[in-house]
Every structure is written in C-alpha cells, then in structure tokens.
Assembly symmetry: C2
Homo-oligomer: 174 residues x 2
DNA sequence: TAGTATTTTTAGACTAGTCTGTCTAAAAAT
DNA sequence: ATTTTTAGACAGACTAGTCTAAAAATACTA
C-alpha cells in the first residue's frame, strides 16, 4: 500500500472515530507510518485530506447501502431495508453517526468548499431515497425521518429512533 | 456585569458561532475583558464552561420557544408554532443549528458528562413536544421531524425542511 | 461609621504541550 | 533522470492550565 492510500485510510479512520479537529497531522502520519514530507507531497493541506476522506466515505457508504439492499431485497422492501442498514452500521461503527453531519458541526460556517461536499452527499441520499420509494408525495418525508434516525440514534446511543422511523415509513408506503 | 457572567456570555456566543474546539480560553478572556486568573477562579476548566453554556442555552431556548408559542397561540396550533419558531431562530442565528447537536459532534464519544447534558436537553424537548400534541401515537414522529428540520435547514442553509415538516405535521394531527 | 478580614479580580509571566506547515538532504523507487 | 519517500529539525503560532503578587471589592465586626 502506497503512502497516499495509507494516509487516507488512517485519516479516514481517525476523522471518523475522533472527529476532524481532534485529529492532528502528526497522529495521522505516525499511525500511517509515513513521513511528514510524503503527507505534504500527496496532499497540499489537512483540508484536502478531509475532502478526500468525505469523497471516499461517500463512495463507501453508498456502495454498502446498495449492496445491503441488493442482497436482501427478497426479504423486505428496499426502503425499509435502508433503515435496517442504519442499524447494522451503528453496530459496526459504535453509534458514531454520520461523518458528514459530524464534520458539518466542526467546520467554520464559511467553509463553502467542505460544505458543498457535504450538501452533495445529502442531495444524493435524498435522490436515492426518492428513487427507492417512487412516490414523491412521501419521499422527502422519509428522507427527513432517515436523517433523524441517524442523528438521534447517535445521540441516545440506541436503535429505537431507527426502529420507530422504520415503523412509520412502513405505514407511509402502504 | 461581573466577570463570571461576562465569561459565560462571551463563551456562549463564541461556542455558538465558532464551535467548542475552535474557541480558545485566551479568546474568551480577551473578548470578555477578564483576567485569566478570574477565569480559573470562577470555572475549574473549559469543560465546566461548556456545561454552564449548555445549561444556559437550554434555559434560554426553552423559554424563547414557550414565549413564542404563548404569544401566538391564537393564530395557530402550538405544535405548528414550534416549527415557525425554528424558522425565526434560523433567521436570528444565521442557520447555526442546534448547539447541543453541534457540540455532540465535537466531543470525544466517551465524554459522558457533556453527553448527559445533551441527552437531557433532547429528552426535555421530546417530552415537551409530547405535551403539546397530546397524542402519543404521533408525538415521537413529530419529534423526529422537528429534529430533522433543525439539522437539515442548517445543512442546506434554507428553511424548506422546516416548512416541509410543518406541512406533514399539519396533516398528522388532524 | 471605621477598621479589619476575606473574597475576588487584576496583569501577565510561565509551563509543557499541541497545532499546521516548511525545509533540507539523502535514500529509494520508478 | 525523474519522481517519490524518508527522517527529522524547525518555525510560528496556538492550546489549557498554573502561579505570583498586588489591587480592588466585599463582608464582618467593634
């Protein structure tokens, strides 16, 4: 594995479990076993690593979600499976919530570069949910419940908001 | 105004517009025109200021909300006014979202002291919404939409998620 | 009301550490 | 021959928190 990948992998892990501001470059390069020179050879700043992380996370998260739904689409309706996916992610990632929303809270509100990446991720999610439910009367409603599910389960460190939302959505789509 | 109040007022303002981690003690004491000794005479750590801020914010936010509803209860149903209150707060505070959720994203996930303050704030909100709607079949549903409204309007820097949620809630309660 | 004791606030030096980012110069890989 | 990576020193600025010693404010008491 080349330095660039090691940096990105380590930074992603640290940003995700510690947060962006609490993760320093020195920690990244040490845990990635990379020289500081290589860090700044491959990335021009910490912010650029952040953006690279968000892009990678975007790809990984959507792929995982789509995979999950594809795998179980015989058992339940896709949109309901999306909520099961959240439950599974919370278990796997220990209720760390949404990387995008977490970083949104950490950056100064005038950082439009990062803000745009976050907004685009959520726009894609909103659109994807719309494509799953195929009913534009309720799709934003479901999107809002989906978002709530993520944040509230992070907040309470429990799955009840997701289960509650799923139950509501079940009624909404029938 | 005594030093303690000046510190709390300044810190609250800075935490709210810059975030917790991006606000240093030196900036707080300078903008509050207070000696560093006074800071540590009145608070034993930055974390304690954070908790004091959250408690003050909790009181202020709820009082504002209840005031708003009391003032306009003849025009519309209380629970719908709660959403109008969010719109007004976004205008007043420039879409900075929820201080509690913002700080939730900034603190290490093992900081149970701060986490508890945040959880209690949201528990109170959930309960208050329940008391407004007086229908435990939909009250959590509304709570989840309320939370989404705050975060998504912060994310998109726009009021549409609140307006959308309000419309949904209007149908839910009739 | 005057004098004393206690609490609070002041300015600022200081510690020991953190941060992002730059730079050099050599080694390794391509 | 060029690109990439290495180790690590270094800069300049920041961090939370401690400490000193004097001044100011407050409270207590005779």
């Amino acid at each position: 594995m080349k330095p660039r990948s090691r940096i990105l992998k380590t930074a992603s892990h640290l940003f995700h479990i510690q947060g962006y501001n609490s993760t320093g470059i020195n920690q990244i390069i040490e845990e990635a076993s990379v020289a500081k020179g290589s860090f700044y050879y491959n990335f021009k700043s910490k912010e650029e690593v952040c953006i690279a992380f968000l892009n990678a996370r975007h790809a990984y998260w959507f792929e995982s979600l789509k995979n999950y739904i594809e795998l179980k689409k015989n058992e339940e309706q896709p949109i309901l499976l999306a909520f099961d996916f959240l439950i599974e992610m919370n278990v796997k990632e220990n209720f760390r919530g949404c990387s995008f929303l977490n970083i949104l809270s950490e950056i100064p509100s005038d950082n439009s570069k990062i803000l745009k990446v976050i907004q685009n991720h959520k726009k894609d999610l909103r659109q994807y949910i719309a494509s799953l439910v195929n009913n534009n009367k309720v799709s934003d409603h479901i999107y809002l419940l989906f978002e709530s599910s993520i944040i509230e389960s992070q907040l309470y460190r429990g799955q009840w908001p997701i289960k509650k939302s799923k139950k509501i959505v079940k009624h909404l789509i029938q």
